[in-house]
Amino acid sequence: MSAPLISVSASPDPSAIVSAAPSHPLIDLTRITRIYNAETAPLRALDDISFSIDAGTFVSIVGKSGSGKSTLLNLIAGMDKPTSGEITVAGKVVSEMTSEQLSLYRRSAVGMIFQSFNLITSMTAAENVALPLFFSGTPEQERNARAIEMLETVGLAARAKHRPTELSGGEQQRVAIARALVTNPAFILADEPTGNLDTKTSDDITDLLSHINRHERKTIVMITHDVPLALRLSTRIITLQDGKIKTVDSH
């Protein structure tokens, strides 16, 4: 299997290198296997995968559908558990956490961005952004202030009171990015963030993600089947095929 601990050799931004060279990787996967329907019709979605992601990097996981991308995302997001192997994030073993601990982990360490935005339609943009803070028990005033601050970061402060249905796709995804950032998570997990957007809007969103990676020094793990996009944004690309790592490219 491919060796873990591949450090970033080149980064477009010099400042990212400084923050991306810690002694321990931020996310570390060791010999991860995930088998669905173990009893009836076993399906090996991930087969003995190991790799690590350093803090501050922008890592893309690419592969065709059925390659195991989504499974990998769910495991890193703490929404699923591996059949075998160990996932550590910032020194903590995520794969052994209880359901309660996992929700705390998702709330504090992970910022999720989805292909279909996944905003709650009954809430305003600001309420959507504030939602993760709601579960952590942050006082209402602070929640609202943070939400507005985040909306400013993504350039949508003027649309704070609008509901998702009143926003364009690109705007909705920006709200989702603001929501992912609001808890100041250890990393952002983006699942096909431009999959539902046209080219022009896609570029806006990828620029924003790139900006967040470089200027906020936020680690980003992006899942995509769009190889050119991955090449353009990432410091490293992990290619999956049939549940195994095919290649790891750093640039």
Partner: protein, 470 residues
Amino acid sequence: MTFKDLIKFSIQNLFRSKLRTMLTTIGVAIGSGALVAMVSYGTGTQKNFTDEFQDLELFNTVRITSTRVDLSTLLSFSRQTTRSTKDQKPKNEVVLTDSVLAALRDAIRAETKAGKLSAAFGATSAEPIVYPEVVFPSKLQLDTIETAVMTEALPAAMASSPGYNQIHYGKFFTSDSSDEIVISEILLNRMGLDNPVAAIGKEIKLTTISLDVEKMLNYANAPLAFAGGMPVSEQQYTFKIGGILSKDIQKLSNGFRLIMPIETSKKVNRLNFLSTLDLLRKTQQMAGYQAIIVRAASQKDAERIKGLAENMGLNPTSFTDQFNEFKKLFLLFDMALGIVGTIALIVATLGITNTMIMSIMERYREIGIMKALGASDDDVRKIFFVESAVIGFVGGVVGIVLGWLTTRGINAVANIFVEQQSGTSLDFFYFPLWLVGASVFFSVVISLLAGLYPANRAAKIEPVEALRYQ
């Protein structure tokens, strides 16, 4: 998630499907309103009885009977407790004669002197009110109209007791041996007299029957002797109407009453038994009064006099004892009403379960999003739990208002008939504060139970699956 956040969030969620929430809440309100109305009818009825008894100072009454009255066996439905009367004298049999009555009066007097009983026995009586219970069948004749009536006898001292101290026409007899009687207005109306003022001083004729027990026993030994006629004689007495008990004094009794002074009643030949059992006893040389009544100044005094009578070997029962047994019946009555109301509420809360399940299905993906963003199973459970509770609380509060309005309506309609009958109005329903609190609490608890299953189901939703769901 703070509690305040949770409440706010739940209300926001409920407002998203206004119609559904409203319908479910109305369902709970109707259920809880039904429960409240039912229970308030039960408590209202009990209160009316208690108030009436209290007004009439019945709780100050001690009744002494010749045999022990075992209320619990009288009221129980068990057959084993029926006593066999044949050849077996009941335990604690006491013949209630005038000397027993005098001894009791002396004992009460002594106790009063010792300061252990209140000295006041009412406005007109410095003496303890102790009198035999006298009730006998008679025929009342006024002008040309006749009717059968049970005649009672009371001492003149009762003039100050509630019920007798509010005579609107004429007055209560002032002497125990007066020839004036007191009649109830309802009985007077029955006798064809609608103007009570004109009835005062009018003469009435009272016919009684008496039985020569000795003669009858002789007949029993020689049955053929019946040919000579029954050993029964009729006597007629003349009285004057001295006072009239007006209609509104006794709200709960329709009161066909004819009361004569106690000493006067002793001169009236009458049947001094009311049942065959009494007759049997009397032939066994068990002559005496049915019962002796003591009117005390307060309920506390009544209890003390009861103890006094017990020490004298008598068989006293205070009205409080009887009422406590009576209350058990009320409890059954209340329970029956409560069960009907509770069923209505439970049916309504099933609506909550249904609404919540619907809501979870609709918000399936949303629950997945919340979980992906870090909501724990517990957070999700709480959200749905609180939504159920909010419906239950609002439904409960609206239910009280609904129940109250309903009972006011029913009360108003019912009183149209009640007023026609007795001239007075009555409140059939009673809303004590505990009922208001308990019904809201109850509907919240039932709603939480209704939300238990949906909340747990929501908590168990797998985010990965829910996010895949379109």
